[in-house]
């Protein structure tokens, strides 16, 4: 089937996208052996003999195969030497960092399997290894790239130790936790980790994904990637619901949460629904001292990709206003198939001040970047 499904030109082309901060860049390895350099022999041996253990049927491949090779990479992002998209720094510089004169690229490593590993000692070791790998392979060679502290939240003491170890190292700008875990992240058992993030000045990046093993919808496992891809929105919605309703922001008022790769246009309606439900059910959650939407407004940031495309492009403007212009940060998701191009992502002209904030100033302020 080869048919035109969208005959629509962008209403406006932003000329001022250069120098933006990219809040979602995916580094990859050229060979999985790269991590071994950062692992003790005990875990190198484990990795060789047993390997990663997840909560899904396929050991290595995705249960929902993507629609392009390499588990859903941009077709033109394969480096000239044939290695995996996102694995070659010079090529990443050419396609992303230099092309757009990116000020900073925030790494979101989805490699190593540390977050969802069932053997939590191994998961913690892989998290540490992946953190060292980010520094050695990416941040030190190109200081524009900023690392995320990976942790396995099911190993609380190791997670907190890792967060404390990286505090003060400005090459790390946030802690990254996969939202789909064993339990919703707002549950009390995770609070010590969330407290450690706030105490050490790290916002938490909640990049979609995870390996908790639950079906991706409340009604069970869907059949198609066509459903899996938008189901990440549902996960983001329940994630916000969990963090707010469990009282996380009342308990840790200075916690800062960043939602990555879930889009954002769904957030206003979720806030309206939360406020309506809270009006009736506040006695169940008496520790919430303000409307749910107020916690969201204070403590949650969103990144743009995959940006929703309203059928009437101007509806993007009201959506952004409902969320708050100072809470939206641009991201490309390089080198995934559904990457957003800063030139074309918004199909409507944004006011200059909004553009400055969304493409740069909001992230600069949140992450205290120069």
């Amino acid at each position: 089937m080869n048919m035109t499904v969208m005959d629509r030109k962008p209403e406006a082309i932003n000329q001022s996208y250069l120098g933006f901060i990219d809040c979602d860049v995916h580094p990859f390895f050229k060979s999985p052996d790269e991590f071994n350099a950062f692992l003790p022999e005990r875990w190198r041996e484990h990795r060789r003999t047993i390997g990663g253990r997840t909560r899904v049927g396929l050991a290595k491949a995705s249960n929902y195969p993507r629609m392009s090779p390499g588990n859903g990479q941009r077709m033109d992002a394969w480096p000239p030497d044939g290695t995996h998209p996102g694995s070659d720094l010079p090529f990443m510089q050419q396609q992303l960092l230099d092309l757009f004169n990116v000020s900073y690229g925030l790494l979101a490593p989805l490699v190593g399997g540390s977050g969802g590993e069932r053997n939590v000692e191994f998961g913690a070791a892989m998290a540490t290894a992946t953190n060292e790998w980010q520094l050695a392979r990416w941040c030190d060679p190109d200081p524009r790239l900023k690392a995320a502290v990976l942790v396995n939240v099911e190993h609380q003491s190791a997670a907190i130790a890792e967060i404390e170890k990286r505090a003060g190292d400005r090459r790390f700008v946030q802690v990254q936790i996969p939202p789909r875990g064993l339990e919703p992240l707002g549950r009390r058992r995770y609070w010590p980790i969330l407290e450690a993030c706030a105490a050490n000045g790290f916002p938490i990046s909640l990049h979609l994904g995870g390996a908790g093993g639950h079906p991706s919808t409340g009604g069970g496992h869907p059949s198609f990637y066509h459903e899996e891809h938008p189901s990440y929105v549902q996960s983001m919605q329940t994630l916000v619901t969990s963090l707010v309703c469990e009282g996380v922001f009342e308990h840790i008022p200075n916690l800062k949460i960043v939602l990555v790769e879930g889009g954002f246009a769904w957030l206003p309606a979720l806030c309206w629904r939360l406020d309506r439900a809270w009006k009736r059910l506040h006695a169940e959650v008496p520790f919430l001292r303000q409307k749910p939407s107020e916690y969201v407004r204070q403590s949650i940031w969103v990144t743009t990709q995959p940006i929703e495309e309203p059928e009437r492009p101007r509806d993007m403007l009201s959506t952004l206003e409902w969320i708050g212009i100072d809470r939206v940060m641009f991201s490309t998701d390089y080198p995934h198939w559904d990457q957003d191009d800063p030139r074309y992502a918004f199909k409507v002209a944004l006011p200059e001040e909004w553009k400055r904030k969304i493409y740069s100033e909001n992230a600069r302020a949140l992450y205290q970047l120069e």
Partner: protein, 354 residues
Amino acid sequence: MQLSSTQPIDCDVHLAVPSTRVLLPYLEDYWREHLIRRGIENDNLELSSYPPNAPINCRPDWRPPTGLPGSQFEQLRDHVLEPFQPRFAICNVLDGSQIMFSEDLSAALCRGINNWIAAEWLDRDPRLRASIVVPAHSPDLAVAEIERRADDGRFVQVLMLAMTEIPLGRRQHWPIYAAAERHGLPIGIHAGSSFRNPPSALGWSSYYIEDYVSQSPGFSGVLNSLVTEGVFNKFPKLKVVLIESGVTWLPAHFWRINKTWRGVRSETPWLDRMPSEIIRERVRLTIQPFDEPPEEHDVQTIIEEIGCDEMLLFSTDYPHWHFEGTDAIPPGLPDGLLTKLLVDNALATYPRLS
């Protein structure tokens, strides 16, 4: 606008089975004895999705001094039929009968409930209509029940819960859709879960408010399943009504699923047009709860973004607590939409109301 003067069609009022015991006269002999021997007639089979004492699930002035809200005809008469003067009210029973693991027990109880609805409610007031309660996880038995009830025109739709064992678009469910289409019955998908799965991919949440809020994301998953599996292609006359789903989440849902479709539609090549087009044509939503924005003028924006004046159906969602008095119309809805919403859209959706 004086609501009652329009004689609206109320597309969602709830009846509660006051106790399982009342079903005994409506069961086959074997099942009557079966329930009594196991003591099941003493059990209350209410769903955990709808704890009846939670404030949101019954408006204070609608709460009866004793018994379950919505379990007596006089309540429904005084609270809905008199004040709103509906020309029809479609009754939905949410009950654990729909989700018992034993398919046979589930089907027997559903038969009993449908018999009870016909005898104790539909026979009492000519304005009442009902949804057929079925064991959706047992398609053969669900189809048998649809066939058994299809001749009674007062049953106007088939009721399913939004979140059950497998996504509703999965092909195991298709015999149910075939039977519904054959008999001019829309599929009414009501908020709620049988909790065979956690409320979301994140696992089990702590509080009821989380479960409640998560119904809307759940409906997103339902729509994605129905659309991508090709239910609307396979059953070209089938209509689906989302009941108690909230409403304002729909535009953002359109924007995202359309974008995903543009990228990955080769996986589901039968989808030869935008999901939003299919949904606008075939899916309807009841208006309570609406989950409106705090500013009235923003409601207008949402209505324009929904982009179809045939989608919304009037409902009180009795006895659930979404509004006071008779203010069942969310503030800010444009007047032009109201006539369609109050009457015409329901008539177009439910062939059996005409």
